[in-house]
Symmetry: C2
Subunit: 234 residues, 2 copies
DNA sequence: GAACTAAAAGCGAATGCTCGTTTTCTATTC
DNA sequence: GAATAGAAAACGAGCATTCGCTTTTAGTTC
């Protein structure tokens, strides 16, 4: 709590918590509209209505629409970072991490909304340099987390030491980006199917010399329809 | 007096080629401005100026800005499809295809421009259902081409038969999408570095039981000095 | 092949509308 | 009682698009 002097001229200042709550209220409203209609097709009036406020109120907490967009985009990247970080912290093999990540994204609160916002933020960053810088540094943190995990994997003998951790991290990041993209277009895309395929690829199943003589994907090795593998192979 | 009946059916019609050329001229101009400033920050006047025409002329060939955006987005997806198809037609192992694809994208005419347009089109498709449908079918063709290649790989013994070709194709598509995204943010990102890392991942180098006892990366490239890569500037 | 005609191509000022933002005023808070 | 929080109306800019007009083009006639 801030101390307030009862006798000085300053007085009715809203608590910091109150202001933060208002900002969140506005951002939540913006997230709904932006996810549904896009950053540019959703008007400020839409956001204002959704928040149940007035223009004056909204503009008290945000200087401009761009500032709201930036906040939304940043929050969206934060969601990605947190999800990836959390998954890495389970200290499981990378093949398993990759297998489970899509599901982790799918089961987030407001998953659909968050993914749509992320994809739009990527496009938006191309036309808004200030946002681009912010987003890049956010993405770099994700990449760095992945890179450190890969480096650790090299120390532990999980990962080939000849692999470049920075570049390999980009590949794992691409798997995440690809999932988010494909899922926003096809919300019915099954996260586990995608995760399993990613895991298979990481296990070298698209490359003969590696999968041959391997239990491969457990379960029935016959059909293409669904290789329902249990990831517990190891 | 004059007999006018003889003039009844004259048609000074410009050749179809001419009309097509005009459309191309407008689309080329739009591509330049859209890539630089984004679909929504670039105004029609910008496109019109870039094309060296007048509003009336442009609106003779396109009914609306959205129609131009759709045409640009479609063309952009076509570029991706053509590049992937071409690469697949070399009939090389998938690990090599994946290794070379990034370079193929980087060396296209107007590569930078095309990639930026593609990324923006992805975002745009979320707010424009008509465009979304068009783009999805374009992307499906890419996925299908990849899927067929994977199925063929299973017949040839290159790919584990237990792998689901549809889902695996999504993973390869994700590698492409990830490259395009990451390259638009960091144009200095080296295509070959990315490709090599992708190839390594496909060979199972992130997974102990597979890389052990393997010659590792194709080209010479880095030995295990894992750190040298420049994540470089921001 | 020159003159003529009608339609298409092209121009650019004008239009109307939407949107982000500002400003003014009232209500609330301590 | 003082100043902020919030509501509501209004503003001005910028936008996509249109429309009335002029210029160009291609086919027809002689």
């Amino acid at each position: 709590m801030k101390e307030r002097s009862l006798y000085s001229e300053e007085v009715p200042k809203v608590s910091d918590n109150y202001a933060a709550a208002r900002r969140d209220q506005i951002l939540a409203a913006a997230a709904v509209r932006f996810a549904r209609e896009g950053f540019h097709r959703a008007s400020m009036q839409d956001v204002i209505d959704e928040a149940g406020l007035s223009p004056g109120a909204v503009y008290r907490y945000f200087r401009s629409k761009d500032e709201i967009i930036a906040a939304i985009a940043l929050r969206s990247m934060g969601m990605i970072e947190a999800t990836v970080r959390e998954s890495l912290e389970t200290h499981r093999p990378l093949t398993e991490v990759v297998a489970e990540l899509p599901r982790a994204f799918s089961t987030l609160d407001h998953a659909e909304e968050s993914m749509r916002l992320a994809v739009q933020a990527w496009g938006e960053s191309l036309r808004n340099p200030a946002l681009a810088a912010t987003m890049q540094s956010a993405l770099n943190q994700v990449r760095e987390a992945l890179q450190q995990r890969i480096t650790q994997g090299q120390i532990d003998g999980e990962v080939d030491p000849a692999v470049n951790p920075d570049h390999a991290a980009r590949i794992l990041l691409a798997l995440v980006q690809g999932f988010l993209l494909q899922h926003t277009w096809e919300p019915t895309l099954d996260a586990d199917d995608y995760g399993r395929a990613a895991s298979d690829v990481l296990r070298g199943h698209l490359n003969k010399r590696h999968w041959a003589g391997e239990p491969s994907t457990i379960g029935s090795a016959s059909t293409h329809t669904a290789s329902s593998s249990s990831s517990s192979a190891d």
